[in-house]
């Protein structure tokens, strides 16, 4: 195996506010269904905003079988659910893989925030000494991948890359290299984040949360809305996938990672454009071959404007002919899970030649003048899809998916 060997997506698992499992998720994405609703996991009485993208119908006990379900916190439960769904979707049972050659890499923004919230609740109520081992057992963010591997018995490479809201793409990029260089035969690559009062408080204090809905690229967009969820891709070398007759969604063709080194929270644009260019060069595709861009598209005034400019910088005049959409218009911003879930949408778009819409798009913005696939899904051939994700810390990550042709 070497850097020329090809890696493909053979399974998808998603746990989202608009569907658990690839089939309902994709149906609802194409239908433009919103998963935004009143926040239920904590009291928003003291906040100016009250909506979020929580996954309200999730029953962790349906998925967590090996580990005691209450021995792990919510982001791990979401991660395990997405991992099990992805493996089932890939047709990989315990007999279908070598545990020593199966690895797990996850991205996340907050890890298990509920555990530090628990720590603080004890501290603030004068019950400091009631803390047990649960904080060390369940809080540090690397437990996401560790719990998935413990649940599944996987002994291969195991890592969490907590690069905030670009983390899912970082995880997929790492899995791609891990497979290309023969360090594993199967990689679960994804992202997971649980709804968190800490994240919600922070974005509320930045004035970044929209009051009702997310309107990426719309002139009257009012911000992002925090969400939660998990997405996992099963990645395998093409030769292995073909040998076992696996269904192939798409090929993972390349990636690019950069840092703005400019500001912790404000994007700068040049780094995003560089990431897109590096990814295209890595995949060996030209701008005109890209048939769909899954935007970071948070719905904040700054992000959508800067991102539009970055796409133009990377694509030149071609930018006006490439459809760009944001499924955050439906899910809100699922943080470290976002780019993993959006990667699933890219793989599905490439397989089906269907483009997810940007919903809630009403008024064009002169600063955002690309084709955002407004409000309705579109049927259009997609040979190559680019998944863009940006993050606090100035992180930029672009991953490219290509229609599989043997």
């Amino acid at each position: 195996m070497n850097q020329h060997s090809r890696v493909v997506v053979t399974g998808i698992g998603v746990v989202t506010s608009i569907g658990i499992g690839v089939e309902p998720f994709w149906r609802n994405v194409l239908a433009g269904q919103s998963g935004i609703g009143p926040v239920e996991s904590f009291d928003t009485g003291r906040y100016a905003v009250h909506v979020g993208g929580e996954v309200k119908s999730f029953a962790p006990g349906e998925f967590v079988r090996t580990l005691p379900v209450d021995s792990i916190a919510r982001a791990s439960q979401l991660a395990i659910a997405a991992a099990r769904l992805a493996l089932a979707d890939a047709g990989l049972g315990p007999d279908g893989l070598d545990p020593a050659a199966a690895g797990v890499v996850f991205g996340t923004t907050s890890g298990e925030p509920v555990m530090i919230e628990h720590f603080n609740d004890l501290e603030l109520s004068g019950a400091r000494e009631r803390l047990g081992s649960e904080f060390i057992d369940q809080y540090p963010c690397h437990v996401l991948a560790a719990h998935v591997a413990s649940e599944l018995g996987f002994r291969g490479p195991n890592l969490v890359i907590p690069t905030a809201c670009a983390a899912g793409n970082y995880a997929i990029a790492h899995a791609l290299d891990t497979l290309r260089f023969d360090e594993a035969e199967v990689m679960l690559a994804g992202g997971s984040d649980a709804f968190s009062r800490i994240t919600y408080t922070g974005f509320a204090r930045l004035g970044a949360i929209a009051p009702e809905r997310v309107q990426p690229f719309d002139k009257n967009r009012k911000g992002m809305i925090p969400g939660e969820g998990a997405g996992v891709l099963v990645l395998e070398p093409l030769t292995r996938a073909q040998a076992r007759g696996a269904r192939i969604y798409a090929e993972v063709a390349g990636y690019g990672l950069t840092c703005d080194a400019h500001h912790m929270t404000a994007p700068q644009g040049d780094g995003a454009a560089r990431a897109m260019q590096i990814a295209m060069a890595d995949a060996g595709v030209a701008p005109h071959e890209v048939g769909y861009i899954s935007a970071h598209g948070t719905g904040t005034a700054v992000n959508d404007k800067i991102e539009t400019a970055a796409v133009k910088q990377a694509f030149g005049e071609v930018a006006y002919r490439v459809p760009v959409s944001s499924i955050k218009s439906m899910l809100g911003h699922t943080m470290g899970a976002a780019s993993a879930i959006e990667a699933a949408a890219c793989a599905l778009a490439v397989r089906d030649d269907r483009l997810p819409p940007t919903i809630n798009f009403e008024t064009p913005d002169p600063d955002c003048d690309l084709d955002y696939v407004p409000n309705a899904a579109r049927s259009q051939t997609v040979h190559v899809a680019m998944n863009n994700a940006y993050a606090f810390g100035g992180n930029n990550a672009s991953v490219i998916f290509r229609k599989f042709q043997s």
């Binding site: 047990g132 204090r205 840092c259």
Partner: protein
């Protein structure tokens, strides 16, 4: 087995830890049997309850970072920025040269910005969400330190925070070396940062993982000691500059070592593994040696991650024994530097580099009564000479993560 890809060299190292901020001096102190473990000045006495920690006393970020405003960085961010400054200065990658060629960062950490996260949340919960600080919020993301370091030092390449528990720092080196070897990047600052704070300390104490308070039980926090009972926490920032050998040669850089091989794995059933049999570390060591094109015969030492944890030390010893035999002396640094968690593997790597450079391997301070069940050539307190071209660095975490890195002298 042929080694794949480009050769990866080390061109700089920087560390700040309980025994100082110069690699050569810290190594010398380790060889002299020094320890930084002492009563805490960070954790309040009623919380510390007599447990010793290895702190960076009187840390002054301005000594490393100059007069620029460090207020946007929390303590972990400042430690990381200072450690990276030392590594970059040692390597000759000036600000001007970093503008010409993107330099990346791979930062290992276990608790990331837990102190900032916790204080942000406690303020919101006690005073109300409208009193939480937006500036602090940008430091609540788990990659805050890497992001702040990138801004501070203008690092525009890959920016990866590596989280694998207590093996994070060593994993970050392997992650970065692999990216360079595969042509994904030319230059990456790689290492780890971890601070001592109330949140992590209290968590470890309540989990029963800390050694007995030091004044009561000699040997309790000493790696591989017969009376070891747990870990003692420490804090550190430790970074190396890794780059493609062709890049280093072209700019006439001094090289201080080479990263020859790396492997990582996970043990999903660590709690039921036989204490003396092969485990995930065994497999990982074999794969790292294979990646390095080595068979273990030219290893001068193993710098292990042993910490005083009864179970973990036994597991690491068994992994080394089954993966390597007893061919090379095995040492550990955590009775001197504390368990610096996400930084510890990078610290071990720098100790390995210094040992190769000086030909002196530090022993395990306090190891006056080795555990008879540990069947390895452990290095007693003091120092011993080594004369071999490579050192193996190992790391294991209680969750089951394990990795190994082969470092060579230049």
């Amino acid at each position: 087995v042929t080694v794949q890809g480009r050769s990866v060299v080390v061109t700089g190292a920087g560390l700040i830890c309980g025994l100082g901020d110069r690699a050569a001096a810290v190594h010398e102190a380790l060889c002299g049997g020094a320890t930084a473990l002492a009563p805490s000045t960070i954790v309040a006495a009623d919380i510390a309850q007599g447990h010793h920690v290895a702190e960076i006393r009187d840390f002054n970020p301005r000594a490393y970072l100059g007069a620029r405003n460090v207020a946007p960085l929390d303590r972990t961010g400042r430690l990381a920025a200072a450690g990276v400054e030392l590594a970059l200065a040692d390597s000759g990658w000036t600000l001007e040269s970093r503008k010409q060629r993107p330099v990346g960062i791979a930062l290992g950490t276990m608790f990331c910005s837990v102190k900032t996260i916790s204080e942000f949340d406690r303020r919101a919960q006690s005073a109300g969400p409208e009193y939480a600080s937006p500036m602090d919020f940008s430091n609540t993301v788990l990659n805050a330190a890497a992001g702040q370091v990138a801004i501070w030092h203008q690092l525009r390449g890959v920016n990866t925070t590596v989280a694998a528990g207590a093996i994070s720092g060593l994993h970050a080196l392997g992650y970065a070396a692999d990216l360079i070897r595969r042509g994904r990047a030319d230059v990456i600052v790689a290492g780890g940062a971890e601070e001592v704070c109330f949140e992590s300390f209290h968590g470890f104490r309540r989990a029963g993982l800390l050694a007995a308070p030091d004044h009561g039980a000699p040997g309790c926090a000493v790696p591989f000691h017969a009376k070891r009972s747990g870990i003692a926490l420490g804090e550190a920032a430790a970074f190396v500059v890794l780059e493609a050998e062709e890049i280093a040669s072209a700019r006439g850089a001094r090289t201080i070592g080479r990263v020859d091989g790396f492997a990582t794995g996970y043990d999903p059933r660590q709690e039921v593994a036989r204490a003396d049999g092969p485990n995930v570390l065994t497999e990982v060591i074999r794969r790292a040696l294979r990646a390095a094109g080595a068979d273990g015969s030219d290893l001068g030492a193993v710098v292990s991650s042993a910490s005083g944890s009864p179970g973990l030390d036994a597991r690491e010893a068994a992994g080394i024994k089954c993966g390597l035999g007893a061919a090379a002396p095995v040492t550990a640094v955590k009775s001197m530097l504390g368990d610096t968690l996400g930084a510890s593997g990078a610290l071990q790597a720098i100790v390995a580099l210094e040992s190769l450079r000086t030909g002196r391997l530090p022993g395990i301070t306090g190891l006056d009564d080795p555990d008879p069940r540990i069947d390895l050539p452990l290095v007693p307190p003091g120092a011993r000479p080594i004369d071999a071209p490579r050192v193996l660095v190992t790391a294991v975490a209680r969750e089951g993560n394990a990795c190994a890195l082969v470092i060579a002298r230049s």
